[in-house]
Symmetry: C2
Subunit: 88 residues, 2 copies
Amino acid sequence: MTLDKRVFKFKVEVVLKNGVLDPQGEAIKQSINFNNLGNVLEVKQGKLFELTVSSKDIKHAFQEVNEICSDLLANSVIEDFKYYEVSE
Amino acid sequence: MTLDKRVFKFKVEVVLKNGVLDPQGEAIKQSINFNNLGNVLEVKQGKLFELTVSSKDIKHAFQEVNEICSDLLANSVIEDFKYYEVSE
């Protein structure tokens, strides 16, 4: 057994696909304009995840994160996801 | 009246401050490990917003987005936010 696992940190962004109704974003937009906080044309709300993954190398870490996104974090029917490594 | 308003696009990330309990992130972590999707040490869930702002210049757009974040999108007691311009 080897103990040479390394720790990687990823950010995952999950957003609704174009054309999918986003009532929450629409409500936020109306609220911004109603409160005169600015002239906002569009608001889209999505989800953000910060994952700290322990894996043997960066390639395997990316594979794991991709699987986590497609199987658990995003609903592929209505949502797109993207992920990237962050330092910190 | 001038019509020289320009359109800017921003991404806003709202995350819980360090030390604030994140039961949703904890549940996702357990679900990932339970389903053998990877060896994940920590999950933090946050919110993501894409704002399309119409403003006279980038400086005013940044001011507006800052105000929107602190007044509406983030709860400053438990959440931190950051924002940046995106192209697209």
